[in-house]
Amino acid sequence: MTYNILIAGVGGQGTLLASKLMGVVFMNKGYDLKVSEVHGMSQRGGSVVTYVRFGDKVASTVIEKGEADMVLSFELLESARWLPYLKKDGVLISNTQKINPMPVIAGQAQYPEDIAEKLRATGVRLHTVDALSLAEKAGSAKSVNVVLLGVAAKYLGMEREAWENAIRSTVPPKTVEINLAAFNAGYTL
């Protein structure tokens, strides 16, 4: 069996760190895995997505519509965009933060209202998190990514130490404490 996690966000939100940390944990646990990232043009404030797949033997690098066991979304509109990628019984973890895309800023489109309610109405298992406030409380607005990782980790059922060790071995030494605090803020929610 393969477990599929789709991480969605806006370029600059740090989705790559979240997927990298997942990769470290799953590999240390002895799973085969593939982590597929986005580099280049779409990183510049665009909609970005990373696929994390782990299991006994993982072939494909990508996750398609109806295949994700978990969608971890860093932004509300991105939750709507990537909803179709979730399995019918998968879980959608969504940050409640809103970031206006350029068509909205330029006045060509509206940011949809009440996204969370509309998502819930589709029957999806939805877990909303105000990760920005939690990150600010933990000490840095930039650690939204690790707060959300903490929430996801709770669903993935691996023990906390495995995640904490991955954080210690991966992030720059100066930011270890802040990242651990951010992780715990999400994990203990």
Binding site: E37, S42, A80, L83
Partner: protein
């Protein structure tokens, strides 16, 4: 030791373990990280070259000189390097030489989705294609053995999903490659008609030997399963395997040029239905048909975009996943110029001038989108400059007063210089603007010959753009700060009126660089009338809510470009 590695990182590891000593590349998504990773190994000489042609020639020279060498590039970069590649194929190598080329099906960060296998076929160079990070390392190493055994450069074909996905890799030790002596050999190394005729015969014989290798070496292998037969390589093999599992049998190709014939026939004989899965062009399918092997291919699959397990499952088994959808339309989120990006100031300045803008490849291509909506054309690296000369020549002298070319510093070095020579030499009047942000931005911030730092970040000489332009015959050269929109607009307006070619350098470091000046975020004052004029600069940090502009203090770096756009002076520093 087992490590989780990006495909590109695993290629770099393979080069390192193979004893490669010289690497020269030009950055290009998705190939860039190979060279970034290799630059971290102290035993390997690495450099950023001005363009892929130069990089390939450096690698060729190093291989001739006896060191295993590598050059890396994206698919379109191989077009630039094609000239040396096609003849290096005739000459062959002394120590091994590998050309890494990364295709971008789906165009995540490219201007076209050409299939680099065509270049391998046309230049008669063998091409390997790995399917995960472990194979990236393995094939990189194998490529050197093939290169030296068969006396040929070898191409290593990657794609976005291979280059930019992480999977486990077993690392080993570096083995020093034997130092090869250089022996003068005019018949082999100097390609002019008499010698090249003989070498062409050699190349054809070599291809026959390589085809034998493809048949028997085991790099192309059969995986037995169900009665559907799939031929695939690289990322497409992964998708097919994911989609069909043991419902199918597979001929997994590790070498995509030259292709085997007997092996395919043998595989075809054991299955009921033979399907070729290949992203982009129908190269394997055409090969099968040419050799009388019946198969399905592009009748089931598209020539455009990436494949996936779903696409293959649908095409082969007619099965589809169920999923939920969001009940209403929602806006797209295209990539945008960063908050504080100096390009924004330049394009906003141009907006007031109503000019034709001949565009080029880089972050600034993003200015083609609304609200900046600033480019009229964009062809290829350096194409803005020469393209403008052609446009103005077609439309007459007056047009030169209403048109500019925009090109980044790295792109200008890559292939804009020959364009300005063309303009000056042929008495053109065009105005060329170099967007000098002191870095190669789009590919993730690489140093380049114009910024004064090497790949390792060590100080070095920097190309003096002003002196260069004068030297080729541009007598009017001006420098302006794109954050100062008003002056920039004035300078360009003046240069457009001149009856001579002009070069304007809009100089300001990329907002993401450490050296960029970050000021306090600007604020919206009481007198904001909600007119939305400031939104025309297209900065992601500014928006209008409840009929008033708001600036996101987490994103704004205080560049002041939006303040220029506000007609009532409502944007300023927090007092």
């Amino acid at each position: 030791m087992k490590e989780l590695m990006l495909g590109n990182q695993a290629v770099a590891r393979g080069l390192y373990e193979s004893g490669v000593r010289v690497v020269s590349s030009y950055p290009g998504t998705p190939s860039t990280e190979i060279t970034e990773y290799i630059s971290k190994y102290p035993d390997v000489y690495s450099e950023w070259a001005p363009n892929e042609k130069v990089a390939c020639e450096v690698a060729f020279g190093a291989a001739l000189g006896g060191a295993r060498s590598f050059c890396g590039m994206k698919h379109v970069g191989l077009n630039v390097a094609a000239d040396p590649v096609y003849t290096a194929s005739y000459i062959g190598v002394n120590a091994g030489m590998v050309i890494g080329v990364a295709d971008d099906p789906g165009m995540h960060s490219s201007q076209n989705e050409q299939d680099s296998r065509h270049h391998a076929i046309a230049s008669k160079v063998p091409m390997l294609e790995p399917c995960d990070s472990a194979e990236c390392k393995e094939y990189a190493m194998l490529a050197y053995e093939i290169s030296e055994k068969y006396d040929t450069p070898v191409m290593l074909r990657l794609s976005t999903r291979i280059s930019h996905s992480r999977s486990p890799v077993e690392t080993g030790e570096r083995v020093a490659a034997p130092e090869k002596p250089y022996v003068k050999n005019v018949g082999k190394n100097v390609m002019m008609p008499a010698m090249a005729k003989a070498r062409h015969v050699f190349v054809e014989q070599r291809t026959a030997q390589l085809r034998e290798y493809a048949e028997t070496s085991g790099i192309n292998r059969i995986i037995k399963g169900g009665k559907i037969g799939i031929i695939a390589a690289g990322t497409t093999f992964n998708y097919a395997y994911e989609a069909l599992g043991d419902k199918a049998s597979y001929l997994k190709l590790g070498m995509v040029n030259p292709l085997p014939v007997e092996l395919i026939k043998q595989f075809a004989a054991g299955v009921e239905r033979l399907i070729v899965c290949e992203e982009l062009d129908d190269i394997i399918e055409t090969h099968c048909l040419k050799h009388g092997i019946k198969c399905e291919g592009k009748a089931l699959f598209s020539f455009c975009g990436e494949y996936s397990q779903s696409i293959i499952r649908k095409a082969v088994l007619d099965e589809e996943n169920e999923y939920r959808t969001f009940p209403e339309q929602f806006p797209a989120r295209p990539p945008v110029l960063c908050p504080g990006c100096p390009h924004r100031g330049l394009f906003y300045a141009l907006k007031g001038l109503d000019v034709y803008v001949s565009g080029d490849i880089g972050c600034y291509t993003l200015a083609a989108q609304k609200p900046l909506d600033s480019l009229d054309s964009c062809l290829c690296m350096g194409g803005s400059v020469s393209g403008l000369h052609g446009f103005n020549t077609a439309r007459g002298a007056e047009q030169a007063k209403r048109s500019v070319a925009v090109i980044g510093d790295s792109t200008f070095i890559h292939s804009g210089i020959t364009g300005i020579i063309d303009i000056a030499y042929n008495k053109g009047l065009s105005t060329v603007i170099v967007l000098d942000n002191s870095i190669t931005g789009m590919t993730g911030h690489q140093n380049n010959p114009a910024n004064g730092f090497t790949i390792h970040g060590d100080p070095t000489v920097a190309v003096d753009l002003e002196a260069l332009a004068r030297a080729v015959g541009f007598s009017s050269v001006r420098v302006t700060d794109p954050y100062d929109v008003e002056t920039t607009r004035k300078v360009i307006a003046e240069e457009l009126q001149k009856e001579e070619p002009s070069l304007v350098i809009a100089r300001r470091p990329c907002a993401l660089l450490k050296t960029a000046v970050r000021k306090k975020p600007l604020v919206i004052k009481e007198n904001c009338v909600g007119c939305r004029s400031c939104l025309k600069v297209g900065c992601p940090a500014i928006s209008v809510e409840n009929k008033r502009a708001v600036i996101d203090k987490n994103q704004c770096i205080g560049c002041g470009i939006c303040a220029f756009a506000c007609r009532v002076g409502a944007i300023g520093e927090d007092e």
